[in-house]
């Protein structure tokens, strides 16, 4: 299957556009357009035409009205997709009627199938879409290259594979057998009150289990919705700082700023106090020093009495005990003390002042000056440290302010708030989900016991024995179906894994870094590193991730049985340098067996890429927009 033509009328930026995709040797088609000219709109037009919905991938959350602004208010929005299959041509046409600029009713899908020159309008147009690309797996056929990370987050792939593998048929069978099983139990209740009572109890427990299972589904759905929304918000907020966090950082920086300013001011005051307090002794330092030296010289020359503590000496004499070392005084010591006291008492008043008062006082001043230098240096060091800290805080504050002013947008704040709320509710849901799972486990155990009791009671009663046998048959069949379901799912998974590995290692330019790709039970992907044997997906480059997704997508295409085209918007946006060239070659290789439509920005369509797609048979078109940015057009190069 391949897309032959797209016709768009009045859809957002496109007023009247028709793009043909003629088949050439390499079925690859390149569309090039700047951001904002309508690249994503083109992808969305196709998705809207097929499924009546558009993914929310428009930049800046600014959605133009679906009806082109320069179209008349009574115009219709129409998108047609012309598809060629092996034996027919199908036209998918979706129309949205507008009256006075307002949409009237739902958009209508019509499908026209032409076989052997005969065109018929399909009675079930949606079913025709399902034959092309079913809605649940459309993400694997039409996608935005910038959203590739989503493939590595939790997703609904498992459920989509379920649909692809037609396991729903087995589920129908399961439902019927369960009803039959129930009927046999109900029939048996008529023959015994014990069986009736047991059946009632079983029914109650099963009802409880049903409720719990519904609850479980709700939780799973809610968790999935929250996760998807969080992923979307993360995408929207990529590179955008959290305004609330910026506000909180601003407040805490402001507090630190104030604190440091106060500390600096306090240090300044401390320094000034120290200066004023010490100024007299510093200015008089040389005088003090001279006088100390003079007094000490005079004492040495016996011009002044040795400074003594008269009171202490008198006490020592009285107690006959040295007041310093505590020893008893001998005669010699007593004589010495008496002589010293006598000499001291006969010295002049000035001598006493000099030795007893001034000498110790001036020494205190002398020490104070030395201490001053140390204290001043300490204060200055603190002062310098605080100033450096304050400078750093001021820089951080200015940086924060710059970001804050740039992103002070109510919309961003709301998104961050929403993300926080979602995370909180997700945490709560996960907790409740855990409780729900425990309750289900316990109920299942009780139901099993109750069933055994019931089976026993039915087997023991001649009239109900036959029902029990039939029930056992149902149980056996249900077990077989369950096993088959598991086996199909596992086989499918292994097939996808095998194809993903084959595709990846055929296409990769790095042949020796990775050993294999694991597709887990929930269809999450792991890229196993050759050396470590561990999942290296988080350290893989954007190009490697993109190749992995492409390989997986092609694997899904194969098991789905839908040989439909692959359309990627900005496929090389997250790939840089040499890998762009590698990737372009990969697309070229894949296009031997599959139609590929790539929508690139001029930046993606670099010289290296141009060279890969240089073949003239490869169609290139430019998406442009008019001057007043209301209408886009697509022209062949």
């Amino acid at each position: 299957m391949r897309i032959e033509k797209i016709k768009i009328e009045n859809f957002r930026l496109y007023k009247n556009v028709e793009v043909n995709f003629p088949k050439s040797e390499n079925d690859i088609h390149i569309l090039i357009g700047d951001n904002g000219v309508g690249k994503t709109t083109l992808l969305n037009a196709i998705i809207w035409c097929l499924y009546g919905d558009e993914p929310q991938t428009y930049s800046n959350d600014v959605l133009l009205p679906r009806l082109n602004t320069s179209a008349g208010s009574d115009s219709d929005v129409v998108v047609e997709l012309h598809v060629k299959t092996n034996d027919s041509r199908i036209v998918y046409k979706r129309t949205q009627i507008f009256k006075n600029g307002t949409s009237r009713g739902d958009a209508i899908l019509e499908t026209f199938v032409t076989t052997d020159g005969q065109t018929e309008r399909a009675s079930d147009p949606e079913w025709e879409v399902t034959k092309f690309v079913p809605g649940p797996i459309s993400d694997f056929y039409f996608f935005d290259g910038e959203r590739l990370d989503n493939y590595f987050k939790s997703s609904n792939i498992e459920h989509e594979i379920f649909i692809l593998s037609h396991i729903d048929l087995l589920e129908d069978m399961e439902d019927r057998l369960k009803t039959k099983y129930k009927d046999y139990n109900t029939s048996a209740t008529k023959f015994s009150t014990e069986i009736e009572e047991l059946e009632r109890e079983l029914e109650k427990k099963e009802k409880d289990l049903e409720e719990k299972n519904e609850e479980k589904e709700n939780f799973e759905r809610q968790i999935q919705i929250a996760k998807t929304r969080i992923n979307k918000l993360d995408e929207d907020l990529r590179g955008v700082p959290n305004i609330k966090m910026l506000e909180s950082t601003r407040n805490s920086l402001k507090t630190s700023k104030d604190k440091y300013e106060k500390m600096i001011s306090k240090k300044n005051t401390e320094l000034n106090e120290l200066l004023i307090k010490n100024a007299p002794q510093i200015f008089l330092y040389s005088l003090i020093d001279d006088i100390i030296k003079d007094i000490e010289r005079k004492i040495k020359n016996n011009e002044l009495p040795t400074p003594i503590d008269e009171k202490e000496l008198e006490k020592s004499l009285k107690m006959n005990l040295c007041r310093i070392c505590g020893r008893k005084l001998n005669n010699e010591s007593v004589e010495f003390i008496k002589k010293s006291l006598e000499e001291y008492n006969i010295s002049s008043e000035e001598s006493k002042i000099l030795t007893r008062e001034m000498l110790p006082d001036l020494k205190v001043f002398q020490n104070n000056v030395k201490n001053y230098i140390m204290l001043k240096n300490n204060i200055k060091k603190d002062f310098k440290d605080f100033k450096m800290d304050l400078e750093r805080i001021n820089e951080e504050y200015a940086e924060n302010e710059e970001k804050y002013k740039k992103y002070d947008d109510e919309n961003i704040k709301l998104k961050y708030e929403e993300r926080k709320e979602l995370e909180d509710s997700l945490e709560q849901d996960n907790q409740d989900f855990g409780e729900n799972k425990r309750a289900i486990k316990s109920l299942m155990k009780k139901i099993k016991n109750k069933k055994e009791e019931l089976d026993k009671a039915m087997e023991g009663n001649k009239k109900t024995k036959i029902f029990n046998r039939k029930k056992n048959l149902c149980t056996d069949a249900l077990n077989v179906i369950s096993e088959t379901k598991k086996s199909i799912m596992e086989d499918t998974r292994l097939m996808v894994e095998k194809d993903t590995n084959t595709n990846f290692f055929n296409l990769t330019w790095k042949k020796h870094t990775f050993s294999k790709i694991s597709v887990n039970k929930d269809y999450s992907l792991e890229l196993i590193h050759k050396k470590t044997g561990k999942n290296a997906i988080h350290s893989a480059s954007a190009a490697e991730k993109e190749l992995l997704v492409l390989s997986f997508t092609l694997g899904i295409h194969k098991i789905s049985g839908f040989d439909s085209p692959l359309l990627i918007d900005t496929p090389l946006a997250r790939v840089s340098g040499k890998h762009r060239e590698n990737f372009s070659e990969i697309f070229l290789k894949v296009s031997n067996n599959k139609q590929i439509i790539l929508i690139l920005t001029p930046d993606e369509y670099s010289d290296d890429v141009k060279e890969v797609f240089a073949d003239e048979t490869i169609q290139k078109s430019i998406i442009g927009i008019n001057l007043d940015e209301t209408e886009s057009e697509i022209k062949k190069v």
Binding site: L275, I276, A279, Y285, I288, I353, V369
Partner: protein, 132 residues
């Protein structure tokens, strides 16, 4: 014996308004000691013409009196230290000289620079003493 310390009456206003002497809310006694030491450092001692009391002598610590006595010894014979009236008189003259020098210093620089200038003087003095 004198019971208070005097300054030149006309300088009282400056004691009240000096940025340096009031920068940390210094008390009168501290202001006087700074002025006195600054006067000694600037070798400026000026006789008081019209006295005005500044604070009570009883507020002085014995340590501070030793500082006063040191100044007196520098100017007179050592016996002067027992004559406290004379000691205080010499101190007052230095303070009178010092306060005029501080006034001149303040007039020379801007408001923000007062303390920096004063600190610079102290630092220069310390450097000359070779004790840092």
């Amino acid at each position: 014996m004198a019971d208070r310390i005097y300054i030149e009456e006309e300088t009282l206003k400056f004691y009240d308004n000096s940025k340096i002497l009031n920068i940390v809310g210094s008390k009168r006694k501290e202001q006087f000691l700074v002025a006195m030491a600054y006067g000694y450092m600037g070798d400026t001692s000026i006789e008081l013409k019209k006295r005005k009391e500044l604070f009570l002598i009883k507020d002085l610590e014995p340590l501070e009196i030793s500082l006063f006595r040191s100044l007196a010894i520098k100017n007179e014979d050592v016996h002067i230290i027992s004559d406290l009236d004379e000691v205080f008189s010499i101190a007052q003259k230095y303070a009178n000289g010092g306060i005029k020098l501080i006034e001149r210093l303040e007039r020379k620089c801007s408001y923000e620079e007062h303390m920096k200038e004063f600190e610079k003087k102290i630092q220069q003095h310390i450097s000359s003493l070779n004790i840092d």
